[in-house]
Structure formats: structure tokens, C-alpha cells
Point group: C2
Amino acid sequence: MTAFETSIKDVARLVEATLDSMLPRRAGPLGRVIDAMRHGALDGGKRLRPFLVVAAADMFGAPRERSLRTGCAVEMIHCYSLIHDDLPAMDDSDLRRGRPSVHKAFDDATAILAGDALLTQAFEVLAGPETHPDGAVRCRLALELARASGRGGMVGGQMIDIYAEQKTFDLAGIEELQRLKTGAIIRFSAMAGGICGGANEAEIEALRLYAEDLGLSFQIVDDLLDAFGDAEALGKPVGQDADMDKATFVKLLGAEGARDKAKALVMRAKSHLDRFGDRAEALKGAADFVFARKN
Amino acid sequence: MTAFETSIKDVARLVEATLDSMLPRRAGPLGRVIDAMRHGALDGGKRLRPFLVVAAADMFGAPRERSLRTGCAVEMIHCYSLIHDDLPAMDDSDLRRGRPSVHKAFDDATAILAGDALLTQAFEVLAGPETHPDGAVRCRLALELARASGRGGMVGGQMIDIYAEQKTFDLAGIEELQRLKTGAIIRFSAMAGGICGGANEAEIEALRLYAEDLGLSFQIVDDLLDAFGDAEALGKPVGQDADMDKATFVKLLGAEGARDKAKALVMRAKSHLDRFGDRAEALKGAADFVFARKN
């Protein structure tokens, strides 16, 4: 395992343990919504977004308990969005990471409520004094996360994805969609690490530029994996975009063109971090990882 | 019109104007989610919760623009919960305040996203520097609102309401359910006004006790209106609780018993405000209003 792989796995373990402690089981109907939240939030994925928070915060010497809480808040938002997106009324996906999605394991009402509760708890976590001693810093994190995830960010992107006449999307249109739908939260993650660690505005801007390129690259690789990836490694069926004749980077640029674009974005993402020297190794590793990932 | 009626109508007008400015229309698919948010949040009801925020904050001389923003955040939470509760997967209500509910006027996916976006924007509003110059105060508001509306508050109450075997509810059970489902947000509203206005902890506690009794009284009157109210004034069908053989205060206490209990709670709610003297007139008026309301 490379140093980067060890590092992202370590953070994923810490995220898992922190989320587990933030969602304590209980009996009765209140326990049911918590069980559904746990189903949607635990044992999940690469934890790329919290890794970006923690790795960026590490550069500025932020205590890990602060950056982990911030990372877990982002992950709660990410997981709530997956729970709601999987609903029959939205993308109608029965599987998520090779397991039944929340509405399949429970039911639609419970999935709606579990998503609402995760979304709400993300802000509870950020507003809590353990996240940062300075209330102004906590508020900035909450404000930026709300902007990144609300109607002008992730939710808006999902709305465009569902309702725009997708076949008319050109490259600019699809980039704008992804900038909102997946990019805004990735952008927030890197910036939040800087905010958490007391970075100055120029440093936060460098993190934003890095994450902007990283997020777009992430989405292009997603499209490549849907077209050419391995269903088992992905934990979901492949070829869905083509079946739905969906506008993707692969469709618009071809496989090679998409791969070249993703590669160029990863290179440029890393170049934004040059000002941080060796301290940026983990974030640069994340960029390479996003490009090389198989799921 | 009584002084109180003038006062609550004035605040409702200000809330309407503030919400309208917080949800500016735009074109395209992003505009669609905003239209749905506006459908669910504007032109709505008595605005009791923001009134409680503003009236409590007024007692401590808080600037109206701060308490109005805080009240609008609460109202966004209230409205998101109505949008999601009305969904077919939840209560399946086609009508809300005499108009089509959001999923009927738009569709289920849009209603889910509009609810998510309102919930998110509530925290964006609270975290914004215009809400209070002190970040610690803004974070306390966000933290308390998240607790009141999440899995240990409103969402938890909704989960109990959907999944508990309702016919076994005794009076203690139904009080606990309502304390979470509707009570937590009402409690937050009065306390938030105090927090906004720099009240001390004893004053905030008095507001909490007031709102605790007010919230329960509110729910009992809701049950009475469902049993004996006027469908046209309510803007929704009556008799639904009885049709569903639902455990309500009316069923458990009888009409007279329920009315007596609501009245006693309103009296006790007002007594918690005695320490504030004449300054508490508006909040005392709100308690009388909750008891006497016809919708």
C-alpha cells in the first residue's frame, strides 16, 4: 500500500468511528430513524470528502478532532443526498455500494426522514463548540456548507440533472451541472479544511481552485467508470448512462478525450497547491487517487 | 381587530416580505426548485412560530431585522416539514391551506428537493452575519434549531407518529409524541427570541416553559379543530383523525376534557411570563390566540 492509500484508509477509519459515535443506537421508533441514518452513513465508501477536509486542515496544524467533525458534517450531507437521490421519486436506485439503498432496507418514509435528519445533524455538528472554539469560524463553515449543498449548489444541480432536457447539454452545460451537483461539496471540503486550520484567504482560494479542478476530474472519471468500469468493484450496475442516452463527458469527448481531460485537470489541480510545498503531499495524492480509482 | 391581531398580522406581513426576498425567482431548472420552495413557504398561514421569535426578541429590544431573519429560518424548517410530510410516501396530503400541496403543484422529486433546500437555507440564514454580530450567538441558534428539528425533535416525532402502533398511545405517549413533533420547534421559537435579544439564562428558561405549555395547548386545539372545526376555515378536510381511529387528545380526554386541558395550559403558559410584566403582552396574547383560533 502506498503512503497515500494508508493515509486515506486511516482517515476513513476515523470518520467511520466518529460517525458511529454521532449516531448512537436507541430503541423504539426513534431508533428506527437512527438505524436508517446509520445504514445510509456508516460502512460507506472512500470518504473522499472528509479526507479532503482533514488533509487540508492538517497542512495548517488544525487539531484532528476539529477537522474530523467538520469532515463528518460534510459526509452527512453527502450521505443524505444519496439517500434522497436513490428514492423511487428521484433516481429509483435499489442498490448503493452493493447493499440495498435505505428506502429498500427500510421504506420510503423512513428514507425521507433519515435524509432530513442527517442533513439537519450536519449543521448541528458544525455549530457545536467542539468543532472550533471561535463561533465566527463555525458559522463560516455552516454558511459555506449551506451554500454548497442548497438550491444554489448540490440540490440545484440535482434539480438540473432531473429536469433539464439532457440531450441538449453541451460541454459547458454538463460542466455547470457537475460544478453544482458534485463539485460544490468537494470544493467546500478542501476550503473547510483551510478554514478549520486558520488559513488565510489566499490559501483558502488556492484550495478552492484545487478542489474545483479535482471535482470536475472526479465526475469525468465517474462517467468513464460507468462506461468502462467493473460492476463488482463499483458495487452498482455499469452502462446506465449509455442506456439512458445521458449526456456525459464520455459521450461528448469520447473515451480518450475524457481521460485526457481528467488527467489535465488533475495536473492543474495539483499545480494550485505548489505554494504549500511538501505539506500538500496528501492533497496531491488525493488528486492522483481520484484519477486512478476503480470505484 | 384587537391589538394582538394587528400585531400578529404585521409580523406575518414582514415575514412574508422577508421570505420573498430570501427566495428570489430565477429562470431555468434552478428556478423550478425555487418556485416550489416559494409555493411551500409563501402566502402561508399565521406565521405563529416567527411571531413567537419576534415577540420574545422585542421584549429584550433586539433589532427587528435580526429577529425576523431568525423567525424566517424557523418558518423555513416548518414549511420544509410540511412539504415532506405531505408526500405520498408520508401523509399523502393533496391539499395544504386550501391549495395543492407542493408535490401536487409540481411533482414528488421537486417536492423532496424543495424541502431539502428550505431546510438547508434555514441554517444558511442563521449562520449569516446579518442574523447577529456575535458568531457564538448565531451558532447557538443553529445548534438549538438543529436539535429541535432533527432526529431528537421534529423528525423523531414524525417517525413516532408514522411507526408507533398508534392505538396503544396513552396520554403520556401522545404528549411525548407532540412534544417532539410540534412542540420542539415552538419551544425553540420562543427561546430563540430570547437568545437573539441577549436574554439571560433564567429568562430563556422562562420562555422555554411558556412555549412548552403553549405547544401542547396548540396541539390539543389542533385535535379539537379536526374533530369539531370548520373545513373551510381550516383549508383542509376535518374528521380525519376519527376516520383513521387515531389517538388524539379529544379521543383520550373527550371534547370537554381536551378543551379544559388546553385552557389550563394556556393559563400556565402565561404565568411563566409574569416576571416580564407588561413587556410580555404580545406573548400572552399569542397564548390566548392559540386557544381561541379557528384554523
